[in-house]
Amino acid sequence: MPFLLDRRDVLRGAAALLADAVLPRRTLASAEATETRAIVVTFGGGVRWEDTFAPEGWPNIPHLVNDLVPQGLFFPEARYDGLTGHFNATGALVTGCLQNVDAYGSEAPTTPTVFECFRKERRLPAEAAWVVASNKSFGLLGGSKLRDWGDPCAANVILPKHFLLQAIRSAVATSEGPGVEDREALAKRMVSSLDEGYEGFGWKVHETGREIGKEVRATLAKSLLDYFNDPLVPTSGDELTYFMTMEIMSRLAPPLLLVNFWDIDVAHFGAYSLYLEAIRRTDRLVHGLWQHAQSLPAYRDRTTLIVVPEMGRDGDPSGNGFQNHRSGDESCRRVWLLAAGAGVPHGLVSPRLIRTLDVAPTVARVLGFKMPEGQGRPLSELAF
């Protein structure tokens, strides 16, 4: 396929140019000022125990089971007791308090997020905390709207899948021109869209000056080209989230990062095989991110990784099955949590019952800042 290779080479060349000319290799001063780093990755959409860490689920998460659990601390008994919608579930995770706001993301969390507390106490610039989310309704997840909090100290939020969808929608809007089969055209369309302003994609990028605008743009452009050029020919929203996260880590090295994968929510289509495939993909991407972190001096040996589903999904007999997460049954509530990296004991399993609400205070302890008293408690098993 020489033609295809040629086109890919062109894209690769463009990526290289971008990387060398636009992006001098540096990490942010803010990031350097922080010793430890924390990366929280969610199995967004929600997964069931039986499809993941129950023995019959192990084939779906080979990297977690074989690679990450042995290097980390695993909590098989974690629980989420709040409203079983995506925004409220992840909102609880980033605030340490149960949330009861609009399920589709039109309202911000009602208590300060871990990002706001971090940036405010440490007086860090916007690029120190990022949310990279496949769920398009997470635009307001980076900060509350509370007085003295909110935008001035919120996280940057980007929604790669939503961005991708906008490009696809635009590509198929007419019968003219290249459609979605033409990856190069789609890539070009998306790169040029970056100049049109982030608000159209529901993003919140809190710029601190003109410089960061350019840098963020170039970072994202590079990640887009990497995504479209990848030999595995990725097409999913989570894979774009992965590529964008990797590039943000490489170029901006934020000390606090939340990554929300969300392909798993394809379960609503009712195809069990697609749901399992998405779990396997998420497993692969989590492992890839962790390997990437280990390859970067800014993250190696000083990063704590937390992997957790935002919630479960309905059980078979008592609920509506894997397709939904609305019954509130035990299968919807029961999740797990895996921690690895700096300050985490190796290869241990804690039988203690924890809650996803504990994630935010744990991150605060890892990074050494205070959060207002909430419903969650730091995981004492981690050495702070």
Partner: protein, 435 residues
């Protein structure tokens, strides 16, 4: 004793005006909204609403309702003055949510139904109610893995070896299976009233057999509904492009959509069935998009709402998701697009194993089916089936202890179970499964 049938919702509500006035306001709103749906109700749904109202009006219900009444008082629901049930519902739900009382209210409502349901079930589904049959078929083309076949039901059914003899291909298999106890007389509805014989399938082979045999049934075919599905998807996509604030706004838009399946798409096309199809396609997760989800969701809804005596759910091969464009919900392919449709036989097997299990699970949740139903799971071209019979202490999965049966014998077993008149030349029913 079954509740006396009522001609219309207005009469029913008039009959119970007094008890409705005493009822918790949130329940009254629910009853009102259900009554509004009366014209699109199947007979069992009308009977259920009637029985529920009678149960709620009984003196024994007063104590059961106390918990809900207390939560409502705490939230201020009882001060809402609204006669329209939908607005009453919205206003009271908002109050419950604002006061953080929604979980407690849900709990109390659960308690009410837990207390009343056994009595309602007994009234509607007495022990001598007619027996039922659910047949779940895996269509040809699904990549069957014999060692994993019907794995979810392992241990609760009985595997019956089949002698397929010269039956090869989909149509001969289905002809033999639905010979209605008489070889040569194909009737997938087994002579039942069309309201009592439902066929839901991904493809349309069974529909064609029904038509050829002039066997009246209620039939839903994902394939035959293609133009209707596309019209619905186009409308939804247009609305999405115009901009919606969220799923609630989209749902409200959907409720107003005036689209109906085209002539000939359904085996029986009365207003209630048409409304059912529309609800299934628009309300059931991926039912609009994925054929097997459509089969499962339609089956589950039919079991719940129409409660047919015979349900045949026939799954097929799902198409693979198309790169990129499948991410765009409800969009149509461009005429200039070159990406071909590719089937996913392996993924389809994983899907239907789970979905077939859900059909059984949901049937067993209903008193109409529990303890009265013979379940048969077959895969076209596979020489065994799984049978689940009520109250039978089955030898788990033991296939070896049963003689191989022909599809005609399976057909006679279905006919016998339903009490359909056997044909004179019919094969005998399978003794181990006969009631």
């Amino acid at each position: 004793m079954s509740p006396a049938p009522v001609a219309d919702a207005a009469s029913l509500l008039r009959q119970h005006r007094e008890s409705l006035g005493r009822m918790p306001v949130t329940l009254r709103a629910f009853i009102g909204m259900e009554a509004d749906k009366w014209p699109t109700f199947f007979a069992p749904e009308k009977a259920y609403l009637t029985a529920l109202l009678e149960s709620l009006a009984s003196p024994a219900a007063v104590h059961v309702l106390t918990g809900v009444t207390l939560v409502e008082a705490e939230a201020g629901c009882r001060d809402v003055k609204e006669s329209d049930p939908h607005r009453l519902h919205d206003a009271t739900q908002l109050l419950l949510r604002r006061h953080g009382l929604l979980p407690r209210w849900r709990h109390e409502i659960d308690q009410v139904f837990q207390a009343l349901q056994p009595g309602i079930d007994l009234a509607l589904y007495p022990a001598d109610a007619p027996r039922r049959v659910v047949v779940v078929l895996y269509g040809q083309g699904i990549a069957i893995q014999r060692d994993k076949l019907w794995a979810r039901l392992r241990g609760i059914g009985r595997r019956v070896p089949l002698r397929l003899e010269n039956v090869t291909g989909t149509e001969p298999f289905l002809r033999a299976l639905f010979a209605s106890g008489s070889p040569g007389r194909v009737s997938p509805s087994f002579g039942l009233d069309p309201a009592d014989a439902w066929i839901v399938e991904a493809g349309e082979t069974l529909h064609a057999l029904c038509e050829a045999a002039m066997a009246p049934a209620t039939g839903l075919s994902h394939a035959r509904l293609r133009t209707y599905r596309e019209a619905l998807a186009r409308s939804l996509y247009k609305k999405v492009l115009e901009g919606v604030s969220g799923p609630q706004e989209l749902a409200a838009y959907v409720r107003e959509l005036d689209l109906a399946p085209p002539e000939g798409a359904l085996l029986r096309s009365d207003a209630v069935v048409r409304a059912f199809v529309r609800d299934v396609l628009l309300g059931g997760n991926g039912a609009l998009l994925v054929n097997n989800t459509f089969v499962e969701w339609s089956s589950v809804q039919a079991l719940k709402r129409a409660q047919p005596r015979l349900l045949v759910a026939r799954f097929g091969v799902r198409d693979k998701m198309k790169p990129f464009s499948s991410l765009l919900l409800f969009s149509s392919p461009r005429p200039t697009d070159q990406v071909p449709i590719v089937e996913d036989p392996f993924g389809s097997f994983v899907d239907v194993e789970q979905l077939a299990y859900y059909v059984w699970l949901n049937a067993e949740k209903s008193a109409a089916y529990r303890g009265k139903t013979l379940y048969l799971f077959l895969a076209e071209g596979v020489d065994e089936m799984l049978a689940l019979r009520p109250h039978a202490p089955e030898a788990p999965d033991a296939a070896g202890d049963l003689p191989a049966a022909t599809l005609s014998e399976v057909s006679s077993t279905i006919a016998g179970w339903l009490g359909a008149a056997p044909g004179t030349l019919g094969a005998p029913p399978i003794a181990a499964l006969a009631g």
